[in-house]
């Protein structure tokens, strides 16, 4: 969602609500009361989670991630990739340059694939968010299935030779 698109969308939604309230006031009321309910739900969970994100961001710097991951290797490196992927914040594309520099520093592609997938899919604050909206059984089961899935798919990638990848990328 582009930043500039959002005010426009809000404007359209406001206009649509006004229009609906002219024809069907009961429907407009329903739109607003549903939205209010979700807004309140959002406000009870968003502030503490963003605070946790802020603390992660301030205390776990990207260079720390890079240093430890680059030096680590084997099963320990994978474990580190798993743990650090969960701690750092940001969208997937923010992880691309870090993953690239990990490859340049000699981290294995397997570990980098694990790191990317974990970065994308497993975030402690996000898990809290998922529990809130979709329920603990849903969130925890999905998490429990995602971790082995990431390890398996990274292993498959290692098997089917993504070795030439570094040359291709340069």
């Amino acid at each position: 969602m582009k930043i500039k698109a959002v005010p426009l969308i809000l404007l359209v939604l406001a206009a649509a609500t006004a229009l609906v309230s002219l024809g069907r006031p009961d429907k407009a009321l329903s739109v607003l009361s549903v939205s209010r309910e979700y807004l309140l739900e959002m406000l009870t969970i968003l502030p503490p989670i963003l605070m946790l994100c802020g603390l992660f961001d301030a205390w776990v710097s990207k260079s720390t991630v890079e240093r430890i991951m680059g030096a680590a290797s084997g099963a320990r490196g994978t474990l580190v990739a798993l743990l650090l992927g969960t701690a750092a914040m940001g969208p997937l594309y923010a992880a691309f340059p870090i993953g690239k520099s990990l490859i340049d520093k000699g981290a294995s592609l397997y570990n980098v694939a694990v790191f990317l997938c974990v970065w994308a899919s497993i975030k402690i604050p996000m898990i809290l968010f998922e529990v809130k909206f979709l329920g603990a059984p849903f969130a925890l089961l999905r998490l429990g299935l995602t971790v082995p899935a990431i390890l398996i798919l990274s292993g498959v990638m290692k098997q089917f030779g993504t070795r030439s990848v570094c040359h291709e990328a340069k």
């Binding site: 969602m1 959002m42 502030p47 603390l55 979709l134 999905r142 995602t146 899935a149 089917f160």
Partner: protein
């Protein structure tokens, strides 16, 4: 209970951070303010849109496209949608919850959430620039398949 625990953890972390380093705490608070302000408009937009969806989109449309009787086609549709759109999970979870309330299949929702975070069609060109075409195609297509398998297992367990 859950909400109280999250607030408690955040408050404890803030307190700990405050005693450890004023400077880092300030940075954390800056991050908080910046992300809250930048998220607020899109959160408001999606919540308002959810109000419209729940009021006007008939449940049977949701049921037909991603409901239980839609079967695998619905799951694949949801997975494809999750692969293409670029929305933060913060915003996607309440949306997914509203579809679930409308009667969407839990497998479709699981597939949507999983591909949303792990598969990026729009970010693929960027990913190729960093890691090459082969790595990108493998990682994204395997993630897509993994999402479908995860959805299948979750459907079997949670049903």
């Amino acid at each position: 209970m859950f909400i109280a625990a999250v607030w408690g953890i955040a408050a404890a972390g803030l307190l700990w951070s405050f005693f450890k380093s004023r400077e880092k705490t300030r940075a954390a608070l800056r991050f908080f303010r910046r992300s809250f302000l930048s998220l607020a408009p899109s959160v408001l937009a999606i919540i308002w849109a959810i109000g419209f969806i729940l009021t006007f989109v008939p449940s049977d449309l949701v049921l037909r496209s991603i409901g239980r009787e839609a079967g695998w086609l619905g799951v694949i549709l949801a997975a494809a949608f999750g692969s293409i759109v670029l929305i933060p999970a913060f915003i996607a979870f309440p949306l997914a919850a509203s579809f679930l309330k409308q009667g969407a299949d839990i497998r479709a929702i699981a597939a949507f959430v999983t591909t949303l975070v792990m598969v990026g069609v729009l970010t693929a060109p960027l990913e190729m620039k960093y890691f090459g075409r082969r790595f990108t195609l493998w990682r994204n297509s395997l993630s897509f398949v993994a999402a479908l398998i995860i959805a299948l297992v979750m459907g079997a367990v949670l049903r």
